[in-house]
C-alpha cells in the first residue's frame, strides 16, 4: 500500500538549510495500524504530511497503491487525497459555521461528482462514530471528543484506503481520548489501514505497530506485543468514576 524509499526532507529558510527527514524507508501493508512516535522536532509530523500527500519530499521515492506520487501534479495529488486518503487533525479542523453533516459532506464537494446518496453516506459515517443525534449541530455546540468524532466521520465518508491521524488525542481529556482510539481500533478491526502520529506512549501502545523516529531517522520499528484495548480501559475508567 505505502512504500517509502530513502525519503528526505529539507526546509530552506533563506540560506539556512534545516534537514528534517534524513532518509526514511517504510512499508505499510493494507490493514495495518501504525503509530509513528517521537519527541517533538523528530520529523514525525513532516513524515505524516508527506505520507498524506500534503507536502512533497525533497528526495526519495514514495509509491502509494503502486503509483509513484513524487512526479504528480498538484491537482493530481488533490484528487488522490480526495479518493484514497482521510485526515484527522489534532485541532479537529472542522468548518466552524457548518453543521456536523455539512462538515462530513465536505469531501464530496471536491469529488468531481456529487453522489446522489451523499447525505445518506454522511449520516452513516456520523452513525459509525456514534453521532447520529448531532447531525445539525455546529462545532461550537459540541464537546472536543464529539468534534473529533465528526472529523473521523469526515475522514471515513469517501471510503478512503488510508486514514491519517495527526495527534488525534492531543487536545482531548483521557476519556474522550479513549473513545477516539476505540473508534480507530474498531475501524482497524474492520480492515482499514490507519497511520497515526503521537508522542503519547499510551496511545502508541494501542496500535499494532510502532515506528520510532528520532532526528529524522527511524530508530525502531516493531509490532506492539499486546495492544491495549481502549474500550476496556474506557469501561475501567467509567467504573472508577462511579
Amino acid at each position: 500500500m505505502i512504500q517509502l524509499k530513502g525519503i528526505t526532507k529539507t526546509y530552506y529558510r533563506g540560506k539556512v538549510e534545516t534537514p528534517v527527514l534524513l532518509g526514511i524507508d517504510l512499508h505499510v501493508r493494507e490493514g495495518e495500524f501504525l503509530a509513528i512516535m517521537g519527541p517533538s522536532g523528530s520529523g514525525k509530523s513532516t513524515l505524516l504530511h508527506i505520507l498524506g500527500l500534503l507536502d512533497r519530499p525533497t528526495g526519495g521515492s514514495y509509491r502509494l497503491d503502486g503509483i509513484e506520487v513524487s512526479s504528480l501534479s498538484d491537482d493530481e495529488l488533490a484528487r488522490l487525497r480526495n479518493d484514497k486518503l482521510g485526515f484527522v487533525f489534532q485541532a479537529f479542523h472542522l468548518l466552524p459555521k457548518s453543521t456536523a453533516l455539512d462538515n462530513v459532506l465536505l469531501p464530496f464537494t471536491y469529488a468531481g461528482h456529487f453522489p446522489a446518496d451523499a447525505q445518506e453516506q454522511a449520516r452513516r459515517a456520523l452513525g459509525r462514530v456514534g453521532l447520529e443525534h448531532r447531525l445539525h449541530h455546529r462545532p461550537g455546540e459540541m464537546s472536543g471528543g464529539e468534534c473529533q468524532r465528526v472529523a473521523i466521520a469526515r475522514a471515513l465518508v469517501n471510503d478512503p484506503e488510508v486514514i491519517f491521524a495527526d495527534e488525534p488525542t492531543g487536545n482531548l481529556d483521557q476519556r474522550s481520548s479513549l473513545e477516539i482510539i476505540s473508534i480507530l481500533q474498531g475501524l482497524h478491526a474492520e480492515g482499514r489501514t490507519i497511520v497515526l502520529v503521537t508522542h503519547d506512549t499510551a496511545v502508541g501502545c494501542m496500535c499494532r505497530r510502532l515506528l520510532r523516529v528520532v532526528y529524522g531517522k527511524v530508530v525502531s520499528d516493531e509490532p506492539v506485543a499486546d495492544p491495549t484495548v481502549a474500550l476496556q480501559q474506557l469501561q475501567t475508567l467509567k467504573e472508577a468514576a462511579k
Partner: protein
C-alpha cells in the same frame, strides 16, 4: 442537491460567517453604485425635460430656426447682436419649395409698460398670426394678432399672464388701454400661462403685431429671427442649404465673409441643451467610477485579511481534496456575490435617493436603463477584478502551513 448548489451554499455560509467583513466590503460599493444611479437618473431627467421644453416650444423635427447675427451655436455671441434679417428675407424663404410656414418675430428691448397707475418692465415681441400655433401657445381670452392688425400696424397687444397680474391685478384687462413706452395700445387678448423655464418667467411678455413692432416701437425694420417649417423632416438639410444661399445673396455676402445669421436645427439645439447635463453626467460618472475603484481596493484588502484568517479553513479544504482552482473559484465566487449584493443594494438606494430628489428638491429624474446596466456591470466587474488577488493568495496557500 447538486454540486453547483453546494458551492453556492458554501459561499453563502462563508459570507455569513464573515458578515461583518462582507458589510464593510459592501459599504463603499453601495455608495458608489448609489451615486452612479442617482447621476444617471438626473441626467436622464434633464434630457427628458429638454425634450419636453422643445416640444412645448413647437420645435418639431420638421422645423428650424434662423437667428439674426452670425457666430456659432452655444458660443456667446456678444451682448449686442447685429440684427440682420428683414421681412424681405422671410418672404423669400417662404417662397422656397418645401417650406410650409415662416414665422418671423422681432424682439424689442425690455420696455416700461403702464396701465392706470400700475407699471412694469417686460419683454415686448413683434409676432405674426402664425406665431401662437408655431409655439403651441394658446390664447386664454380674446384673440391673437391677425393679418388685418399687421396690415394696419395696429396698436393692439396680447399680454402674458404675469403682465396682466402686474398691471391689472384681478381686474379684467380686455379692451383696456396700456402704454408701451409712450405709445398707447389696446389689450385684445391674454396668453395662457406657460410657467417659468429655469430662471426665466415665460409669461412675462407682451406680443404686438410684427409691423407695429418694426414701425412704431423701434427705429429699424429688421427682424430678430424666424421659425421655418417644412413639408417633412427629411428635407431639413437640403432646405437649410437653400436658405443659406438665399440669405447670403440677399445680404450681399461675398465669398469668405462669414454668415451674418445662424440656422439652428432641432438636432443642434437638442445637442446644445443637453451638452451641459451630459458633460456633468460624464464628470460625475468618472467621480463615481473612481469611488468604485477605491471600494474595489477596499474589498481586495479586506478579502486578503479574511483569507489570512481563513487559512486553516482553506487548508482543510485542500486536505480533503480541493484543488487550487477550487479554492480560487470559491473566493472569486464570494467576492462576486458580495459585489453583486452591494451593487443591488446601491441600485435601490440610488433609486430611492433620486425619488427623494424629485420629491423634495424638484430635480427632474427619470429611470435610466444605461445607469442600471452601468451599476450592475460595474459592481460585477469590481467583484471579479478585485477578487482575483485574494483568490490567488488563497489558492496559493501551502496546505501544511495553512493547517499549522
Amino acid at each position: 442537491m447538486s454540486l453547483a448548489w453546494r458551492l453556492l451554499k458554501t459561499a453563502v455560509i462563508s459570507l455569513w460567517a464573515f458578515r461583518s467583513y462582507a458589510a464593510l466590503m459592501m459599504i463603499g460599493l453601495i455608495i458608489g453604485i448609489a451615486s452612479l444611479t442617482v447621476i444617471h437618473q438626473i441626467g436622464q431627467g434633464a434630457q427628458q425635460a429638454v425634450s419636453a421644453r422643445m416640444t412645448s416650444m413647437g420645435f418639431g423635427a420638421d422645423a428650424f430656426y434662423i437667428s439674426s447675427g452670425g457666430g456659432r451655436l452655444g458660443v456667446r455671441r456678444g451682448m449686442k447682436r447685429a440684427v440682420t434679417l428683414t421681412p424681405a428675407d422671410a418672404d423669400a424663404i417662404s417662397r422656397l419649395d418645401g417650406v410650409t410656414h415662416v414665422v418671423p418675430h422681432k424682439n424689442v428691448a425690455r420696455t416700461q409698460v403702464s396701465a392706470g397707475g400700475n407699471n412694469t418692465n417686460t419683454r415686448v415681441r413683434g409676432a405674426t398670426p402664425g406665431w401662437a400655433a408655431a409655439r403651441n401657445w394658446a390664447v386664454l381670452m380674446g384673440r391673437f394678432v391677425t393679418r388685418t392688425d399687421i396690415g394696419q400696424s395696429a396698436r393692439v397687444a396680447v399680454l402674458g399672464t404675469t403682465v396682466v397680474r402686474e398691471l391689472f391685478g384681478e381686474a379684467d384687462p380686455m379692451g383696456k388701454r396700456i402704454r408701451i413706452g409712450r405709445t398707447p395700445f389696446i389689450v385684445i387678448g391674454v396668453l395662457e400661462s406657460k410657467g417659468s423655464s429655469g430662471w426665466r418667467d415665460r409669461d412675462d411678455l407682451i406680443l404686438v403685431p410684427l409691423s407695429t413692432a418694426t414701425k412704431r416701437l423701434s427705429r429699424d425694420d429688421k427682424i430678430s429671427g424666424m421659425r421655418v417649417t417644412m413639408t417633412d423632416a427629411s428635407r431639413v438639410g437640403e432646405i437649410k442649404a437653400e436658405v443659406t444661399n438665399v440669405l447670403r445673396e440677399n445680404h450681399s455676402l461675398g465669398p469668405g465673409v462669414p454668415d451674418d445669421f445662424l440656422i439652428i436645427t432641432p438636432d443642434e439645439l437638442m445637442k446644445l441643451l443637453t451638452r451641459q447635463s451630459r458633460s456633468l453626467v460624464a464628470m460625475l460618472t468618472f467621480v463615481s467610477a473612481v469611488s468604485l475603484f477605491v471600494s474595489g481596493v477596499v474589498i481586495m484588502n479586506i478579502m486578503l485579511v479574511a483569507v489570512s484568517e481563513r487559512a486553516y479553513e482553506i487548508g482543510v479544504r485542500r486536505a480533503v481534496g480541493a484543488r487550487r482552482r477550487d479554492i480560487l473559484y470559491q473566493i472569486l465566487m464570494e467576492s462576486l456575490m458580495v459585489a453583486a449584493a452591494g451593487g443591488v443594494c446601491g441600485l435601490f438606494l440610488g433609486l430611492l435617493l433620486s425619488y427623494l430628489a424629485t420629491w423634495l428638491l424638484a430635480i427632474p429624474t427619470a429611470f435610466s436603463p444605461t445607469g442600471f446596466l452601468w451599476a450592475l456591470g460595474f459592481s460585477a466587474g469590481v467583484g471579479l477584478l478585485f477578487g482575483v488577488a485574494p483568490a490567488k493568495k488563497a489558492a496559493g496557500l501551502n496546505p501544511v502551513e495553512a493547517l499549522r
